[in-house]
Symmetry: C2
């Protein structure tokens, strides 16, 4: 845990928090904190700062908190992702959150298995768990927003143009001739297909909405590798 | 499976192979191949080409093979990685293999848990399994070489200078002031520490061997995310 993410309910007075449960266990067993240690802390959707550990008992600890900094800048990226298999989705949510992505659209596509949409992971509380892990990892406080879109064509035709307005519009697609640009460092809407890729008509639907298709070389990457690879490439 | 990786023992005559077991199951259940379909194939450590499916039975299939291309260029990167937890190591081996890395040194470090070195994953056959998955994913044929180094200081002082000769020497380290360069596209030796990072004396030992330390921004990434992120950044 690189940052202790705090919520208002953790506060026992204006400048002290009490930490129990998962965070307490992680801090004592993994970070091995002791009294008078300092930890980086952050208020959910708020500032970051330092927590001085003032008390450790068997099942809780207390910290004196001082917030004095803003969280890191968000990445100006909207990620549109064909719903991956739940196990992979967990890791992707955590990693893109740690990378600073704040808007994620999970969309259907021809090659997305229907059963993926039934996964309990897609409940708000479960997704939030992996976002929180990503924030703790990346020393950030601002929860991403995740939207779920079950109808690809309707979403792309009716909503995507507005979402992607004034951004560079990119579809990652192995079967194309142009190599993905690098070091763009600006507002981007990035669409990534499922394992096996988008089918042709999906790529065309995206192209009609102004999305250019780019590959990332001869090698085909797993979706979770491709997501990190592309984000790094576009913001290098 | 984006490439069917073949070995000499799969050949039943000069141009035909018989595929059983895991690859057969994957091709029929996931790729859903049928007679007369063509698949990208490659010979382990050799050429790539096409396989025409000539026969499918209940538990094997046969293909007529024509090799006509070289595998993709290897990445001119030597990766030196503090041994990660086994579950993560599997994914890292698979992803860096799919990215074209051919030389991997797994090294000890102060913050590497001793038990990780006891993992059965570190047997050659087990590591090979994940390299093969990476080759099938990335449409490559050339197995990486993985070396295991249990003594950090001895390895860095006695072997690393020779290994890293004529390459750009980089240690990824969050607690430093220089941002990691991007788009280097040349021979690089990249050292990545464990979760929690290298301790100061380890970074100094590396610096004495010519390794400069660079961070990748305010955000701290998990090792598996950092590996892909750094490779993409250095070769964008």
């Amino acid at each position: 845990m690189n940052l202790v993410l705090l919520e208002n309910k953790d506060f026992i007075d204006q400048s002290h928090v009490m930490i129990k449960g998962r965070r307490f266990k992680h801090l004592t067993l993994i970070n091995k904190v002791a009294k008078n240690d300092r930890m980086v802390c952050g208020l959910l959707n708020g500032k970051v700062g330092t927590g001085l550990i003032t008390k450790i008992s068997n099942n809780f600890l207390e910290m004196k908190i001082c917030f004095d900094n803003d969280p890191p800048e968000p990445l100006p990226l909207t990620l549109v992702l064909a719903l991956p298999r739940p196990k992979m989705l967990k890791r992707i949510i955590e990693s893109v959150t740690s990378l600073g992505v704040k808007k994620i659209y999970l969309v259907n596509s021809w090659r997305v298995e229907k059963s993926f949409w039934q996964s309990p992971l897609l409940c708000e509380d479960n997704l939030r768990k992996y976002m929180v892990l990503g924030l703790e990892q990346g020393r950030d406080t601002v929860l991403p927003k995740i939207y779920q879109k079950r109808f690809f064509t309707r979403f792309v035709k009716e909503e995507l143009a507005r979402i992607a307005k004034n951004s560079l519009c990119i579809t990652a697609h192995p079967k194309t001739k142009k190599i993905c640009p690098s070091g763009e460092n600006k507002k981007i809407t990035l669409v990534i297909g499922p394992e096996g890729g988008f089918i042709d008509i999906e790529v065309e639907t995206l192209e009609k909405q102004g999305f250019s298709s780019y590959h990332i070389g001869q090698r085909i990457l797993k979706v979770e590798t491709a997501v990190t690879y592309l984000i790094s490439r576009l913001y290098s």
